[in-house]
C-alpha cells in the first residue's frame, strides 16, 4: 500500500513549528512518527505528513523518580532500555516483547502506540496500569493522564513523551494477553498493578483491553482491591468483578461471553502473579 495522495513531507525542527503546520491543516495533515499506521490507514484527505524525527524526542531518561519515554523511541528501543527493564520489575519490557513482531517493533514508536489507540493495543493497557501521563504540546506544554486523553475538539496535541510516575515505577505489575497466534492481535488483554506495603495492597490499577473496545481502567475493581492482602479469595473476587465490569462485545475474534471468561482468567492470573503465587505463562 502506498500513500499516493501525499504531496509533501514537512520536516520541522521544533515542536512549535510542527504544531503550527498541524494546526493550519487539521484534515490534510498528520504527524509522522513510526509511520506504520499512516502507511496502512491514512485517510485519503491527508496530503501533508509532518515528520517528527528531528525534534529530539527519542530519548529514554529518568527525571527524579519518574521514567520519561520520548514519544519517538521505538518499541524496540524501549524494550532494550535498562531503565525500562528496571521499572516495575521489568513489566513494560515483558509486555513489549509480546507486541507485534520484531520488525514492526523496530518501526513503531511508543508515542504512536500510546495515542493511536487501536482497540487491541497491548501498550495502552500496560501504560494505563502504570498511571502513564502524556507530555503534550498544542501551543503550550501540558501533562495529561493517558486515561483522560483522546477527548477534546480539533487535532489532538503533539505527544512529546510518555511519563511513568515514580510511585508506579516501583509497583508490582503483570500483564496477560490472549491471542490466536503470537503475532496476532489480542482477543483480550489485561494488566494489573499494585502498590504493596507490608503485605497489604495500598492501591491497585486494573485495565482490560480488546473487549473489543480500547482498554480502560476498572475503577470499581481497583477500589475493591485497595486494603486487601491479595489473598486467593480476594483476587478471585476481583477477577469476577472485572469480568462483570467490562463492556464485552462479539466480533470476529471472540464472543462477548468468551471475552468475559478471558477477563476473569487474565485478571486473576495477573493478580496471582503480583501476589507472588503466579505460574509462569506466555
Amino acid at each position: 500500500m502506498s500513500l499516493r495522495q501525499v504531496q509533501r513531507i514537512a520536516r520541522p525542527t521544533t515542536v512549535e513549528e510542527a504544531w503550527a503546520i498541524r494546526r493550519a491543516a487539521p484534515d490534510a495533515s498528520r504527524f509522522l512518527a513510526g509511520g506504520v499506521d499512516l502507511v496502512l490507514y491514512a485517510p485519503p484527505s491527508v496530503t501533508t505528513l509532518i515528520d517528527l524525527s528531528r525534534l529530539g524526542l527519542d530519548g529514554i531518561r529518568e527525571e527524579g523518580d519518574d521514567l520519561v519515554l520520548g514519544a519517538m523511541a521505538t518499541l524496540s528501543q524501549a524494550l532494550e532500555s535498562p531503565l525500562v527493564a528496571g521499572s516495575a520489575g521489568g513489566f513494560l519490557r515483558d509486555v513489549l516483547r509480546r507486541v507485534a513482531s520484531p520488525p514492526q517493533r523496530n518501526l513503531a514508536t511508543i508515542g504512536g502506540a500510546a495515542v493511536r489507540g487501536h482497540p487491541w493495543s497491548d501498550v495502552v493497557t500496560a501504560l494505563l496500569v502504570l498511571d502513564a501521563q502524556l507530555e503534550t504540546y498544542d501551543g503550550r506544554e501540558a501533562r495529561l493522564s493517558l486515561a483522560a486523553a483522546g477527548a477534546g475538539e480539533g487535532p489532538s496535541p503533539l505527544v512529546r513523551a510518555i511519563r511513568i510516575p515514580g510511585a508506579w515505577r516501583g509497583s508490582r505489575a503483570a500483564f496477560e494477553k490472549f491471542s490466536r497466534a503470537a503475532v496476532d492481535v489480542a482477543m483480550l488483554n489485561c494488566a494489573c498493578s499494585a502498590l504493596v506495603e507490608r503485605g497489604t495492597c495500598r492501591e491497585a490499577r486494573v485495565a482490560v483491553g480488546g473487549t473489543p473496545a480500547l482498554a480502560r481502567r476498572l475503577l470499581d475493581v481497583e477500589r475493591s482491591l485497595a486494603g486487601t492482602k491479595l489473598t486467593a479469595v480476594e483476587t478471585r473476587a476481583a477477577a469476577e468483578e472485572a469480568a462483570r465490569g467490562i463492556e464485552a462485545r462479539d466480533d470476529l475474534r471472540a464472543s462477548a461471553a468468551y471475552r468475559r471468561r478471558l477477563a476473569r482468567v487474565g485478571v486473576e492470573r495477573c493478580l496471582e502473579s503480583i501476589a507472588g503465587r503466579g505460574e509462569e505463562t506466555g
Binding site: 500513500l3 499516493r4 524496540s76 520488525p103 514492526q104 518501526l107
Partner: protein, 154 residues
C-alpha cells in the same frame, strides 16, 4: 528524491512523497525484497534499515532518507553466500523460497546482536516472517547452524 545507501552503494533514488521503501527498491529492480501482503503481516519485504530488520512495506521512503539499507542482494560477498544462506541450504530450510530473503535478513539481524540465541529467541526473531511451506523447524535449525558457524564452531 531520497538519498540511500543500499547494499553499500550510496546514491539518490527517485521517490514520491507517499512511496514506501518497498516501492522504491522494487521499482529499481531490487526484487529480492518481496511484496507478500503490503500490510506488515508477512515479513517477505524484510530489509535491514540501519542494521535492524524492518518491514519495507511499512516504511515511508522519506523516513529512510539518509539511511543505510541492506537487502538480500547485499548479504553475499564476492559470490560467496552469507553463512546464514549456506546454513539455510544445508538444513533444507528453503522450499518455494518466497519467505527466504526476509527470513535470512531477520536471522542476520538477530545474530548480529545475539551470537548464541536460544531456540525461543530464534522463533521470536522470525515471528514476523510467515512461511507457508516449511513449518519453521528447518529454518530454526538453519539459524542454529548459522550461529554455530559464525561463532567458528563448524
Amino acid at each position: 528524491m531520497i538519498h540511500l545507501t543500499v547494499n553499500g552503494k550510496e546514491r539518490d533514488w527517485d521517490a514520491l512523497p507517499g512511496d514506501t521503501l518497498l516501492d522504491v527498491l522494487r521499482r529499481e529492480g531490487i526484487t529480492g525484497v518481496k511484496k507478500g501482503c503490503g500490510s506488515g503481516d508477512c515479513g517477505a519485504c524484510t530489509v535491514l534499515l540501519g542494521g535492524r530488520a524492518v518491514n519495507a512495506c511499512l516504511v515511508l521512503a522519506a523516513k529512510a532518507d539518509g539511511a543505510e539499507v541492506v537487502t538480500i542482494e547485499g548479504v553475499s560477498s564476492d559470490g560467496a553466500l552469507h553463512p546464514v544462506q549456506e546454513s539455510f541450504l544445508e538444513a533444507g530450510a528453503v522450499q518455494c523460497g518466497y519467505c527466504t530473503p526476509g527470513m535470512v535478513l531477520s536471522a542476520i539481524a538477530l545474530l548480529a546482536r545475539n551470537a548464541s540465541p536460544t531456540e525461543h529467541e530464534i522463533r521470536e526473531a522470525i515471528s514476523g516472517n510467515l512461511c507457508r511451506c516449511t513449518g519453521y523447524v528447518k529454518q530454526v535449525e538453519a539459524i542454529e547452524r548459522a550461529a554455530a558457524r559464525l561463532r567458528g564452531e563448524r
